[in-house]
Amino acid sequence: MQSDHDRWILRCKQASRSPSITLICFPYAGGSPEVFRSWAEGLHDSVEVIAVRLPGRGPRIKEVVYASWGPLLTDIIAVLSPYLERPHALYGHSFGGRLAYEVAHHAGAEHPGRTRRLFVSGCRSPEAPQARPYMHDLPDDVFRDVLLHMGGTPPELLNDDRLMRLLLPAIRSEIRLAELWGDRHGTGVDVPITAMYGRADPIDDELSMDGWRGFSRRGFELIELAGGHFFPLTHRPQLLDTLNSRLGASGGPAEL
């Protein structure tokens, strides 16, 4: 039986230079942590990369998925806590951006000063309304069609009925959590926020991400990058450049 750590955490890259910083990555709804393995070569030597693996995919396919934020965050935080005690940054895309923000809140309370930066991409700010009608309660065939048009899920997967029967519960539950998510705290975090959006993203555009500025008491920047909603997959180098330049500045031992 795998340990909790190994079920939840995929180690994507080790740091080969100190002082190091751990970049904790949260995938989009239904996304695989393996996506972040391919980042290893593009990030600075001082950056360790780990990614969170949620239930309902890969080796965790048989596990029950989460129906609400509370238990999901409790379990994620428990497994991440050794990493949150050390210097780290958080990155999440879309649903993963919401997770990263929630973890930043927890870390700010329990391990103040350890979170050097929060990166969110393709993720509306907490107070911004859900721009599109909910998709999480659509019937399976329509839901799959919407996923296909969003991109991010390979068509080979979406067209495979047997696999989709296994994978849909996780994708649907995470999209549901993402759609129902809002400002759970009424206050921001003491962490600088870098928010990034794809120029051609019809889902999370400039307007729906600009509100993040109200959720950091330590500085905010909004960056437009090329690509659509899944620009981290389609336009990876520009994203890694942004992460490298920010982590270079915040990864050292000095105070920000």
């Binding site: 695989s32 393996e34 393995r37 995919r57 890969g58 080796p59 396919i61 048989k62 390979p154 080979e156 997967l157 495979d160 047997r162 696999l163 296994l166 994978l167």
Partner: protein, 88 residues
Amino acid sequence: MSEIANDQRVETWLIGVCQELGLKVTTAEDDFFAAGGTSLSAVKLIDRVEEVFGEDALPPDDLFAESSIRAVASVIQRNQSRPAPAGS
């Protein structure tokens, strides 16, 4: 051909397919997912297995339930409707 030899032949074939999919698999003890397998690579693996061993030779449930190369090979042995590829 003994059962054991046949098993090993399926394992060797599987290791080759996994490597083609870009996974770090070198022995029958290696695990498909631990080696970097994703849902997408699972689709590709299942497609390849069905091409060679016949339809339903590797039900997705079985792959997800136990995913070492050895376990996958024995599922294929149990379900195959065509013989293992010759040679290699």
